[in-house]
């Protein structure tokens, strides 16, 4: 009985948490227009079109019934329906739970929003998606999958350290795509390892650095004791303003490193600042995933 009660309570809590994020994600997804199905011939079940056979078409592909009705030989094409999986990793480590005074949202919130919005767009396109992290790796699809993902993303996160890394030992399906959303302030080597694992399965995708405006501008002055969110790291700056340039330099270095790592793996590296609107980033992500699928 207590089990049931707890379950019900959890369900109610999660259901209550669901609508805001989902609604927001829906709104964000709606802003991305021009995305309707694949509208493109491919390997699928659904009829797409007949076209005249051209040299090089396999004999098996000729639709004889259609060709019998005319002099031409027609090939029946089905719509490209191969549902592909997109692996979404919104980092939910402690460092993502940061919001400076001027930022509208925490970085992790933004990551969750982007993930869910992307999931909605993918679902609309009939694709499958998986939200990594949060001890969940299930591949989902359809509206129910979106709802489940929303619930998952709305769930209270369990911090495991200051900085998060894409989970390894993911059973990436070959040729699938991935979006890693994090501030990438953690150890580069662990990230690289995860990347390598993904690339080895021919996964391509996007490294999206979600960053707070304060992390970009470093507006601190005077004597400041910097602490990581979980409190694991400290840095005592006697005159914070003097560190400004050094910090900016280091940030740029890290971005260069990330960009390089992405390019090597055939990925794309992008930056999203939490004070920026969601839609352009979402559009960019969506298009990148689209293109990656076509094989570019």
């Amino acid at each position: 009985m207590s089990q049931t009660a707890r379950l019900t309570a959890n369900a109610a809590r999660e259901a209550a948490a669901l609508p805001p994020l989902l609604a927001e994600a829906e709104r964000a997804a709606a802003a991305v227009f021009g995305v309707h199905g694949r509208r493109r011939a491919g390997s699928g079940e659904t009829f797409w079109q007949y076209r005249q056979a051209q040299p090089g078409d396999a004999m098996q592909s000729i639709d004889w019934r259609r060709s019998g009705r005319s002099d031409e030989v027609f090939v029946r094409e089905t719509e490209w329906e191969t549902a592909q999986t997109v692996w979404l990793w919104p980092d939910d480590a402690a460092s993502m739970r940061f919001k400076s005074k001027k930022a509208p949202a925490q970085k992790s919130d933004r990551a969750a929003l982007l993930s869910l919005a992307l999931a909605i767009l993918l679902e609309r396109g009939g694709e499958r998606f998986a939200v990594l992290g949060r001890k969940d790796r299930k591949i989902r699809s359809g509206r129910a999958g979106v709802n489940n993902a929303a619930m998952l993303l709305s769930r209270e996160r369990d911090a495991e350290g200051d900085y998060g890394f894409p989970p390894n030992e993911v059973l990436y399906t070959g040729g699938s795509r991935a979006v890693f959303m994090s501030d990438f302030f953690g150890d580069m080597d662990k990230l690289r390892a995860a990347m390598t694992e993904a690339t080895s399965r021919r996964v391509r995708g996007v490294l999206l650095q979600i960053i707070d405006p304060a992390e970009e501008a470093f507006p601190y002055k005077g004597r400041v004791l910097f602490e990581s969110i979980a409190g694991g790291l400290r840095y005592d700056a006697d005159r914070a303003e003097s560190l400004h340039d050094a910090y900016r330099g280091r940030l740029a270095e890290r971005r260069d490193a990330l960009k390089l790592m992405a390019r090597k793996a055939g990925w794309r590296f992008a930056v999203h600042r939490t004070d920026q609107p969601v839609a352009p980033t979402l559009m960019m992500l969506h298009q990148t995933l689209e293109n990656a699928r076509v094989g570019r």
Partner: protein, 925 residues
């Protein structure tokens, strides 16, 4: 004690701590401010970053300065800074404080008391005894010779009042020589009253240190000038010369009720070197005779006022002549001489006797009239008996009348003559006589002319003679060298008749052309009007004070304990034994006469205090008051500390929270006052009845229900339709909006504050209606005393209740709506009290100041628990059981309530109604 300009420090060694400030500066600079803790994910990037400079963040220089300032202020504060520090007491042993406390000290008395208290307080801090010497004290106060502890001395000083006479320094001198004390502080008034000042100073200086504190400005004094030449003037004296000043002298009247009213004001201007200045008054006679005292404007001392008495009053004298005028020969007319003689003494009127008598004259001079017509004689006699003064001069006509009387014509004895006249005058030094012209004999001491010197050149050649009589010597005021009476007088009722046995013109004597003539007339007129004709102070008998001059220059009616003084006191300055004031003679020859006794003798002069010998520390009073700056310094430091806190918060970015907390705090305060105003506004619009919250929940409930019951009945039976009653918090609520306030007295209620009492007084004065109900008439003993009456007395102490009386028969309260014989509540019997009816005499009523509000009582006092009888629940059912009278009595109680409200609203209107039949009857005629 250290002093820098006007700033002194009581504990200057503490200032050494200021040396530590630079060290503090260095320390504060060395310590970086507490770091700001910032959560920042980017710290991972920062890790391993070598900071370009390790110099710690400094505290901003202004914050540093602020903090140093705070510390400096605190140090200064604890060094006890004093602005204008007064000199401290030095040495040990008792301190002698001499206070002049005479009339000249009254002007700056508060400063004196403050200065003396300060000295005594200092002595108290040093645990030294104080020996007080108060130089002008009433003799009633027993002089304390022992030295007092500071606290007692202070209490005495604070209870001290200046006396309206000069300090007795000579007496102090004798005491000083007897006993030597330590340090002396003398608060003097800057005047040398009896020339003993220097000697005192020298004696004290010989004993120990002396500090004198003098006034900032010396007192001025005023004295009335002798009324010579008919000019009323007052002389203002000052002790210091050098500057030209102008003072205003005001002539006041003394009203019967003790008030004084300014009548005239004139300016007196001191030249740079003048010590006296005269203000000359020339008011109309009526005004002039009402002037009772002169006062220097703005000078509230006994010396600054001067009383004048009857001698200054200018009289109106009528002049009637029976002379046969020899057309134009003025110098042969007695009228001319009398008129000229009276010029400076009185205002003269001429005309017929009948006319003059109607002009309210004080004296009538009749020159050579033998007999008056019968009707006129009667009128004259009546006038004299009512207090008039008739002065007759002899002459040919009068002499002839005396002849006629002997011959059998006319009456033998004329009531308008003081003596019987012998027929046939007396002729001296004439061609047909042997005797030489007679000179005047010196005046006898009991004569009104006592003190005047008969001149050598005044000789009488002709006179009428008085019939020898046993009374003749007592009636004689002046006689010739051979003893023949020259001036005789007798009383008739209140008045007097004076006969000068020679003529007013120079044909019978040279008296009219001598200076004595004027003096004699002056004296006669003065004595005839009730004054003391003798030289002042030489009267026998005692003088009783009528009113006395207080130390602040006001005339106060004399109390029962004021002593009589002897006549010799006049002419001298006032002393404790003869305080200044207006005196009336008791017994003696001039019983009833009034004399002014002023603070300063008529010939007294103000002398400034001579310069003190070297070695005396002199100080001026009131100019510089010592101000302790410690609280200001500490306050400033605290304020800066607050500023520092704000600045620190701002620096560490935590200001917003603090501001929010402060704003929240500020938002929660304003509430109550608006609520009270709101309530008052509602009550004012609707005319709600109020009841005073007693604090006793049960009583308050009954009172509320009782007033509800009354309102219920009023709504049902009358056109008065008040809303529900309102509870009044005496301390906070505005009373003026309630037409009717019910106060049920309970023993448990605590006395209202003075403010509340003042509000209630104002309420009653402005026509409110306050009902005080002790609710315990049933407990009354034969004396009428109940626990409630005691509580009533306690609670209403300070309440300005009018004189109360039981509700009289025929009071409006008995018939303002219902006709009622009795005012029962739950209890019966005992009295119900309202303001006593005003005295029958309207003038008397106005004088006592009662009878306000058109005779409507502002208060009703009783113990019948009306409120209990009225009390009803919401459905109109009575709440409390009635006493013996049952429900019938409850009905009566309610009727009383209706009457009471009617009385409250309509006042005496119903009593006017009572007179309607009489008015109608009169109209019908």
């Amino acid at each position: 004690m250290m002093q820098l300009g006007p700033l002194g420090f009581a504990s200057p060694w503490l200032l050494l701590a200021l040396i530590a400030l630079p060290i503090l500066w260095w320390l504060l600079r060395a310590t970086p401010p507490a770091p700001l803790r910032e959560r920042f994910p980017g710290v991972a990037i920062l890790l391993g970053l070598e900071p370009p400079e390790r110099t710690p963040e400094r505290t901003p220089w202004w914050l540093l300065l602020l903090r140093l300032l705070i510390v400096a202020l605190a140090i200064l504060a604890f060094a006890q800074p004093l602005l204008n520090p007064t000199k401290r007491l030095e040495g040990a042993g008792p301190v002698r404080v001499i206070l002049d406390a005479g009339w000249a000290s009254a002007a700056d008395w508060d400063d004196r008391i403050a200065a003396a208290s300060e000295i005594v307080a200092q002595a108290g801090r040093a645990e030294r005894l104080v020996k007080l010497e108060i130089l002008a004290e009433t003799t009633d106060v027993e002089r304390t010779d022992e030295t007092l502890p500071a606290a007692e001395a202070r209490a005495r000083i604070e209870a001290l009042q200046p006396s309206p006479w000069a300090p007795d320094r000579a007496a102090l001198l004798t005491r000083l020589n007897e006993e030597a004390t330590a340090e002396t502080i003398w608060l003097h008034d800057g005047l040398d009253h009896d020339g003993a000042a220097t000697e005192i100073a020298e004696t004290l200086l010989g004993q120990d240190s002396l500090r004198v504190i003098g006034p900032e400005r010396l007192a001025k004094a005023v004295r009335p000038d002798q009324p010579e030449g008919g000019v009323l003037s007052a002389t203002v004296q000052r002790a210091n010369t050098g500057i030209e000043t102008m003072v205003t002298v005001i002539g006041y009247s003394a009203e019967a009720d003790g008030a004084r009213r300014p009548l005239v004001a004139e300016e007196a201007t001191f030249g740079p070197e003048d010590t006296t200045a005269t203000a000359v008054f020339d008011p109309p006679l009526e005004l002039r005779n009402r002037i009772a005292m002169f006062a220097i404007e703005g000078n509230e001392t006994a010396g600054g006022v001067a009383l004048i008495d009857d001698r200054w009053t200018r009289r109106r004298v009528g002049l009637v002549s029976g002379e046969r005028t020899d057309g134009g020969q003025r110098l042969l007319s007695g009228t001319h001489y009398v008129r000229e003689a009276l010029l400076g003494i009185a205002e003269t009127r001429e005309g017929s006797t009948a006319d003059l008598l109607e002009q309210n004259i004080d004296a009538l001079v009749v020159i050579d009239v033998g007999a008056f017509p019968a009707e006129e004689a009667t009128a004259l006699l009546e006038w004299v008996e009512a207090g008039g003064l008739l002065i007759r001069f002899a002459g040919p006509t009068l002499a002839a009348t005396a002849e006629e009387a002997r011959a059998g014509f006319g009456r033998l004895e004329d009531p308008l003559l003081p003596v019987r006249l012998r027929p046939g005058g007396r002729d001296l030094g004439g061609a047909m006589s042997w005797g030489a012209p007679q000179r005047l004999a010196p005046f006898k001491p009991d004569s009104p002319f006592a003190g005047l010197i008969p001149p050598e050149d005044a000789a009488i050649t002709k006179q009428v003679l008085a019939e020898p009589d046993i009374d003749l010597p007592t009636r004689t005021w002046a006689s010739l060298a051979d003893g023949a009476p020259l001036v005789t007088a007798d009383t008739r009722g209140e008045g007097r008749i004076v006969l000068v046995h020679t003529s007013a013109d120079p044909r019978w004597s040279t008296l009219p052309i001598s200076g004595l003539f004027v003096d004699i007339l002056d004296r006669i007129i003065e004595v005839g009007s009730g004054g003391n004709a003798g030289e002042q102070g030489e009267s026998s008998g005692f003088w009783r004070p009528v009113s006395l001059i207080s130390s602040n220059g006001l005339l106060v009616p004399s109390q029962g304990d004021a002593r009589n003084i002897e006549g010799a006191a006049f002419g001298q300055s006032a002393t404790a034994d003869a305080p200044p004031g207006l005196y009336e003679a008791v017994g003696g020859s001039d019983a009833g006469a009034q004399r002014a006794h002023n603070t300063l003798a008529p010939d007294a002069e103000l002398t400034a205090m001579p310069a003190f010998p070297d070695g005396v520390a002199t100080d001026t009073l009131g100019q510089r008051t010592e101000t302790e700056l410690k609280p200001w310094f500490l306050g400033a430091a605290l304020l800066l500390l607050l500023l520092d806190a704000v600045a620190s918060l701002a620096l560490s970015g935590k200001l917003r929270g603090a501001v929010a907390a402060l704003a929240l705090f500020a938002l929660t305060t304003p509430q109550g006052a608006e609520a009270a105003d709101d309530k008052a506004l509602r009550s004012a619009l609707e005319g709600a009845f109020g009841y005073i919250v007693t604090g006793d929940a049960k009583t308050d409930d009954i009172v509320q229900k009782g007033l509800f019951g009354l309102v219920y009945i009023l709504n049902a039976r009358t056109s008065v339709e008040p809303p529900l009653p309102v509870a009044i918090d005496l301390e906070n609520d505005e009373l003026a909006v309630y037409p009717f306030i019910y106060w049920a007295i309970t023993e448990s209620q605590s006395r209202p504050s003075d403010d509340a009492i003042a509000k209630l007084n104002e309420y009653m004065r402005r026509g409110g209606m306050l009902v005080l109900d002790t609710r315990d008439q049933n407990l009354a003993l034969a004396s009428g005393e109940t626990p409630g009456t005691r509580a009533l007395r306690r609670l209403t102490a300070g309440l300005d209740l009018p004189p109360l009386a039981r509700v009289p028969e025929g009071h409006v309260l008995r018939r303002s709506f219902y006709l009622l014989d009795d005012f029962p509540g739950r209890w019966k019997g005992g009295g119900v009290w309202v303001e006593a009816a005003p005295p029958e005499d309207v003038n008397e009523a106005a004088a006592t100041g009662g009878f306000k509000n058109d005779g409507v009582s502002p208060v009703l006092v009783g113990g019948h628990d009306w409120i209990g009888a009225w009390a009803m629940n919401d459905s109109g059912r009575p709440l409390l059981p009635m006493g013996v009278g049952g429900e019938r009595q409850r009905e009566m109680a309610l009727r009383f309530g209706v009457n009471l409200i009617m009385y409250t609203y309509t006042g005496s209107y119903k009593s006017d109604q009572v007179h309607i039949p009489a008015l109608l009857e009169r109209l019908g005629q």
